[in-house]
Assembly symmetry: C2
Homo-oligomer: 1004 residues x 2
């Protein structure tokens, strides 16, 4: 807003607006009512707010009186600071048990339902229509949005479509009896003479359960298929359809769906799409779409909102290492809105504008800009949310005459999600409604030009920006390598290109690498594509005893100089290697797609994790490399530091062929221990990538030696060898325990007791509590169990479901699984690929067969025809801890479902195997979560999310019992296992004089 | 000084004094000369000062040109900030090698020798006498002090006495030609008419090499025997003898020596003793001695000094955990001096006063107090150091007429120590000379009443006192339990009393302790006193397989509840146990004297270490018990914490029967792992002390189980048992490796891969470099090798001596060893006791015999008659790495001496065994020390001190290679070995909303 005249007009109009509604308050902030009290307390007390809104979220699943009472106590009992209306209740729930509880339950339930009712236009069609008619009487038009659970299956998508069609039918009948809201001329059968009376908003994610930018085209088409059916009916009845915009992830898919749909109804003007002003992309997206419409000479409609997923977008981007897609200063969004509104208004001939905002500055700006641009009233309208901001809607009605309420309609259960989001919005510190009506902020500030506000805030933030934290060695603080971002077209395009590039170079022979030299042998083993084993990717030279002996000698020779290289110097090689891997990330990922059948994102994640290990261990070594002073006695300096152990054997698995190999090898290397690296036989090419990366990084000869070969030929020899000082192993329990046992024998000439770092198997369970959010639980369980064909030691292989939700969960799970597509991982439309090799296939099929005997088959997917190592996605119900399916690691896509009678039993079952690797729990009970933290005794427990994909630094990975020896890869203690601590104590007193040290406990 | 009138007089006199000497400077600060430049630079640059004075200290041992050149480069080369006169030299030494070095060497040597010459009255008798006569011509009297190396043997003590006698003979002859310095009347054959012309000071430590308050009476008598011989000659020639006061450790012994000597010469007035004003004890000591003299009607003399070992006393007290015996504010010492001087002057009839100070305020105060008290001039005199503070001595001569110079005399080598101490004194920030003459501080401040100064400083210190550091759980910061302090009469008396008490309770039967219950068996094994095995101390019930099985069941049953006890709760039991052990410290120590033959201090140190383990591990568990957040991604909370492993077997040795047992057991217990404790068979009673302590502390039943028994009966059973999750073992390599190997096999029903914490043997070397300070090296090597009969895994069993110092070191070592007294440890006069049992004796004697065959016997001590397990202290020379004596652990008092051709070979030999436990080096070469830090690859390396006695927290103990598995008892990572890390990851985002955490990497 660089126009002071216009700004003055906007401010004047805003002041008028405020004076029009002077003294009125949205019902939200009416402290006389229960809801107003809750909102008031929430704005005063962040902790209460979190608990309250989380309680509201879980509320619909509290289907018994006991559940409700327990949750009230857990959320609000004890020390929570809360308003008397609730604290009395919480105490009652705690003290009186079910008797007092029953009364309280009723009060609270009634209040929450009443609250929800204010924001939801109806739970079923009849109620919705009746309420809409009531609104029309008051002069308000409506846009209807169907609330629904997350769509997890094709069936759920169908239900959603069905609801719309049913609603439209009802409205179709009903609108015959309506007359258009009064306008200035135009068609009396339309609202205000120009607008369809039936107006709906549709969420694209509700139409397809697997929508994902990885499979861009597939997602667009799948959404479009169902959207067309709704659209056809809307058009048939002359209604209005707006495609809602949800998360940034699907933004481009949504826009593409809109464009294609619009082209199918090129001449029908009442189709629109929503834009979110808070997205940094929106200026460009909007310009593009307007240009597109003009070029095609088609009229569109845009609803511009500020955006409702700010937290989610920010958190997600931070977690994934992506740039934050939204403006991070609220006023920047407000400024963007005005900018974008102007752009739409300037294009009013091709674009109708739905201005959706509660912000009086924004609304005033739109009015004034429209006036300035002489935009006809029929080309823009105002929208606010049903049940919210009553004074604002009243003011708009007075000023503009055209206002539409966004009316959600549907069940309470999904309605709660909607409700919580609205409550959060309105209690946020920067909420316009909060500032205007709950805090009575100065009107001048509320109406300030948002660009000016934003500029000031940027200045303030810059002034108080924290200095970067000092880190060991001056290296930038560790950050996980960003995940692949398929919202980016370049990332989507990179995969097919990299796969093609890899294919062009197939068929090489891969030599050993010993003492810095390539060594070829005549024993070659082919490496194949598991989705089509006749495709030979390359041939791997196999090491035998002579080659391993040579490698041991090379490593032993390299040891002294490498050990004495400074920690910082050793770390530099890892940092270089990380840079090389980053440069080659897509190509390395493509190899994983072909050699071991990882889906694109899984492959990229493996490469990213390898990079993370390099970056993290480099920093860890620099940190640990600085001797630490112990004690503070003057005259004495005690330095604690670490010594390399000797030659390390690194024995790696095929399932995270780059990440785990690189993690173990780089840990050994950076701690000063030369490595004999034996990759898995079936991922020898990926194993060879370590040679390429470390060679390019310039690692001295002998520090890293690559000796692929059959475990049966050289495994024991390597493990037994007296020149080996430590062994880092990841693989099966059987092999792990064999190594532990054999390596414990000290042979003549042996330097030290061999240190074993062994990560072994898992039989990981996810518990579904009776208050779990199934919208979340179902897809996370599927991903945990079937991602990369379940071939992860962390994979979920048991789901323990509480009796109360068993049927519902299982039903949704199975239906969701049915949507999975099985086929070559190089096709991004496939959600599951081939398993590792024929042996894996045989083993998995045997377990699946056994599962069918032990329990009840709930689902078995079809598999593709052809030569790949295909196994079906299999879900078996009726499993109890006595079954082998509940005890043995399968390492494939076979999921056992267990029905537990209560939470105690669920925990007991979860802990009932020999393993203790990962686990998961979906619950919204604070007490159950606390209990799980303690009693669900696994190395990595995940609460309310999938239980795979541990990230370096954030989720150090590894388990105990028969899952491992208690080491945690990617964690702060991992490198300690590769070294021995030493202490040097110097008596610094000579001739009775000791230099003072700043840390000394000298005299006071 | 609470008398303002007197104070005014003192200040006036002080101002007079200053004006008398106005414009003069001590030669020390004459910047025109080399010494003045060095002093000036030292006062400006602390780092240079340290290097310079250390270089001066090592200088006499730099006997070759190469040694000298190397040290100049190492001390001053590279980045040292230093005066041009030296920096040019250092560069020359670095760049030109031996050629430029030779010139430089001459310059530096000449300068240092010239500097030393200023403070030492002569290197031999003739020179000294000549210089004293020169002084007398200038009106100065003298007191002569013979400089000497530290007295390490009886022979060295004899040499020292001989030097005095020779000096006295020379003076006796010489003084016949002297006439008394002019005084006011009196005997013209005396100085000033009243003072003997021959006056000597004698250091009591020079007269007995083993002087120690532990053996108070023995030390007094031994010193007295030689003192008498000197005294007789002094008295015979009518001279004056003053007994010098050295460290606080021997203060009471020195006073006792003086009192006894004085009683033998009751009527001879010219015997004195020095007091140190800086000791907090001095007010009382002085009053006591004056009262003693009065009561006995004998005239004494006291030289009052400020005290020259302030750093040493402070550092030593801090290191030992004792109260600091000196005033910590310089002005407090000055005030004490005035107070004490007054007390002496008030008693002038019985006590002659030697006022030894360079401080003009102090001198003025003494003069004015003497005037006020009408003390005759013959009853007090002034003393200053030879070569120092020339203006002050000149002023005193003018004002008082009576001044005596303290004149050290003797070799350069010990002279350097004296020189360094003087240089340090005068460059200290608070040095009166520095302030007066180098910094020209205001005279008013210099003359201020020290009580006022002290009061102000106390206020300033209180104001800037640091707040106590916040510690986990709010516990006070860990501090080692104070060592036993034999300067305290109560501590000396406590031992015989506790031994008598223990003896009164001998003969009990000690039951097992399982699941909180005493369990008796019929298989009893007696525990005996190794110094007299017919003394049966008690009988230990032996556990067999049934009892161990029962204990395993009890521990397993106790596990879940104990594991789930909070870390803080578990820690409380350890803290209680520490309190109990502390209360019983002397009694527990007495048991060690009797059951395993530890010397008093060694026994007490073992108990103290046990207490330390309890206190330290308690704190460590509280620290580690708090879950740590990892990563900073918003919407995600990753907590890292630790889980107990299961039932622990603790298999303990006899040599640190309480400390190591308690360390391993308490670590297991506090980490939540119930313990099966098997003590050594020969220290079963001490093992039972753990039962008593943990029971009194209220540890829940089953958490600690005591099952002594034969390893041959139950060792393998325990190690193999599937219910054991971890084993903490300390003992021999053979047993350790057997445990490692057996425990690696996983048995059916086993919970986890067993974790082994094994501390095994050592074959520890101390390197004696060619510039080592042998005064320090010899006693530390002896203590390291023969303390507790060498029965420590840390004990020194090889000394690797560089060729250049081999003869001298070996000679002094052997002679020093000859002073060792072998006999029952309950007699504090004995320095070595009996070994553990008959098997140990046999083994040690076999090794000693082998040593005599492999090398050359340098010394074999006699052993007492009788039934004890006596072995001689044995020193074998001529050993090289090929000999078994250089490779195998003996665990007894057999020391091998190896002659290395150079430092490289010394390091190579040091590292040449299978072990890597402890090591030591005596060197003053910065480069060699840096090299040793890196290349002397042992778990605990000690520089310039003994290599035993690692303290909890300060020197975490343990080694690698065949000495252990790289764990460090008493260190920050020890408890980690007893637990498995876990991570709980919570997705805190619900409904797109994530609560913010202060640590989040949220948006900027």
């Amino acid at each position: 807003m660089r126009n002071p005249e216009l700004n003055a007009k906007i401010v004047a109009r805003g002041k008028d607006f405020f004076s029009t509604i002077s003294g009125e308050k949205p019902s939200l902030f009416d402290k006389g009512a229960w809801m107003g009290k809750v909102m008031d307390w929430s704005m005063q007390n962040e902790q209460f707010k979190i608990q309250m809104f989380r309680f509201v979220d879980v509320f619909p699943s509290l289907t018994t009186s006991k559940l409700l009472t327990d949750h009230i106590r857990e959320y609000f009992g004890e020390e929570m600071d809360m308003p008397p209306v609730l604290s009395a209740g919480a105490k009652m729930a705690g003290m009186l048990g079910s008797l007092g509880g029953a009364v309280l339950n009723k009060v609270i339930s009634a209040n929450i339902q009443e609250m929800a009712g204010r924001f939801i236009v109806g739970e079923h069609t009849g109620e919705a229509v009746k309420n809409m008619e009531k609104l029309r009487k008051d002069g308000f038009a409506a846009v209807v949005d169907v609330l629904g659970e997350a769509t997890l299956s094709e069936e759920e998508a169908e239900v959603y479509v069905g609801t719309y069609l049913e609603l439209l039918d009802a409205l179709h009948d009903e609108q015959k009896g309506w007359k258009g809201l009064a306008g200035r001329g135009g068609d009396p059968g339309l609202d205000w003479g120009h607008a369809p009376m039936v107006n709906i908003a549709v969420k694209p994610t509700a139409l397809y359960c697997l929508a994902s930018p990885r499979d861009f085209e597939g997602s667009v088409e799948a959404i479009l298929r169902r959207m067309r059916r709704i659209c056809a009916k809307v058009v048939e009845m002359g209604g209005f359809l707006c495609i809602d915009m949800e998360s940034y992830l699907l933004k481009d898919i949504t826009l593409e769906v809109f464009r294609r749909l619009k082209m199918e109804y090129k001449d029908y003007p009442h189709l629109g799409v929503a834009f979110q002003a808070y997205l940094r992309d929106t200026d460009k997206d909007l310009a593009d779409l307007l240009a597109w419409a003009k070029a095609r000479n088609t009229r569109i409609s845009i609803r511009l909102v500020k955006g409702a997923y700010w937290d989610y977008e920010t958190v997600k981007a931070k977690q994934m290492g992506w740039p934050i897609p939204v403006w991070t200063i609220k006023a920047e969004t407000d400024a963007a809105y005005e900018r974008q509104a102007r752009m739409i208004l300037e294009n009013h001939q091709v674009c109708h504008f739905g201005c959706a905002s509660h912000n009086i500055r924004t609304i005033s700006a739109v009015i004034e800009m429209a006036n300035e641009l002489h935009v006809p009233e029929s080309r823009y309208e105002f929208q606010v949310l049903y049940g919210m901001a009553e004074p604002v809607r009243k003011g708009i009605l007075k000023v503009a005459g055209r206002i539409r309420l966004y009316c959600p309609y549907g069940d309470m259960v999904p309605g709660m999600g909607y409700l919580v989001r609205r409550l959060l919005e309105n209690t946020a510190n920067e909420s316009f409604l909060r500032r205007s009506f709950a805090e009575d902020d100065q009107i001048d500030r509320l109406l300030e030009d948002p660009e000016k506000t934003a500029e000031r805030e940027r200045g303030e933030r810059a002034a108080k920006a924290k200095k970067p934290v000092a880190t060991p060695g001056g290296l930038p603080r560790f950050a996980n390598d960003p995940m692949v971002d398929f919202t980016r077209a370049d990332h989507r395009a990179a995969f097919p290109a990299a796969i093609a590039q890899v294919r062009a170079g197939l068929g090489k022979i891969y030599p050993l690498f010993i003492g810095g030299q390539e060594v070829t042998t005549t024993d070659l083993v082919p490496s194949v594509n598991p989705a089509g084993p006749s495709e030979v990717l390359g041939k791997i030279c196999q090491a035998g005893i002579p080659e391993v002996t040579k490698a041991l000698a090379a490593a032993k020779a390299a040891f002294p100089a490498w050990r004495d290289t400074s920690p910082h110097g050793r770390a530099q090689y890892l940092l270089k290697a990380a840079g090389i891997a980053r440069r080659r990330a897509f190509e390395l990922s493509a190899w994983q797609v072909l050699e071991i059948g990882k889906q694109w994102d899984q492959a990229y994640a493996d490469v990213g994790e390898a990079i993370d290990f390099l970056e993290y261990y480099a920093r860890e070594m620099v940190r640990l490399g600085a001797p630490q002073r112990l004690g503070r006695a003057p005259g004495e300096l005690n330095h604690y530091f670490y010594e390399s152990k000797g030659v390390a054997a690194v024995i790696a698995p095929w399932n995270f062929p780059l990440a785990i190999s690189m993690g173990m090898a780089s840990a050994a290397i950076v701690t000063g221990n030369p490595v004999i690296y034996k990759p898995s036989s079936i991922t020898g090419i990926i194993g060879h990538h370590l040679v390429e990366i470390f060679s390019e990084a310039g690692l001295p000869a002998g520090v890293f030696n690559y000796v692929p070969g059959a475990g049966s030929v050289m495994g024991d020899f390597l493990v037994d060898h007296p020149d080996i000082s430590l062994i880092a192993f990841t693989g099966s329990m059987e092999v792990g325990l064999r190594i532990v046992e054999r390596a414990a024998k000290v042979h003549p000439g042996q330097r030290n007791v061999k240190k074993i770092i062994a990560e072994m198997g898992g039989k990981n369970a996810i518990i579904i509590d009776d208050d779990a959010d199934l919208d979340e639980a179902v897809p996370h369980v599927l991903y945990s169990a079937f991602g990369f064909q379940g071939q992860k030691c962390s994979a979920c292989s048991r789901v323990i479901v509480l009796d109360a939700v068993y049927e519902k969960f299982t039903d949704r799970l199975v239906k969701a699984a049915q949507a999975y597509r099985i086929g070559p991982s190089e096709d991004p439309a496939n959600t599951m690929g081939a398993v590792a090799d024929a042996a894996a296939r045989k083993n998995i099929l045997e377990y699946a067969a056994m599962g069918k005997r032990e329990g009840k088959l709930l689902y078995e997917s079809p598999i593709p025809p052809g030569e790949g190592y295909w196994v079906p996605l299999t879900i078996i119900g009726g499993i109890t801890p006595q079954h082998r399916l509940a005890q043995e690691e399968i390492f494939g896509p076979v999921l056992a479902i267990m029905r537990a009678k209560d939470f105690d039993q669920a925990i007991e079952w979860a802990d009932s195997t020999r393993f203790a690797l990962t686990g998961g729990i979906f619950s919204r009970s604070p007490e159950h979560l606390a209990r799980a933290r303690r009693d669900f005794r696994v190395g990595n427990l995940y609460i309310n999310r999938n239980n795979t994909g541990a990230q370096v630094e954030r989720q150090p990975f590894g388990g105990a019992r028969m899952s491992g020896v208690g080491t945690k890869a990617g964690g702060p203690e991992y490198l300690l296992h590769f070294m021995d601590p030493r202490v040097v104590t110097e008596n610094t007193m000579r001739r009775g004089f000791a230099p003072m040290d700043a840390d000394d406990d000298w005299v006071d």
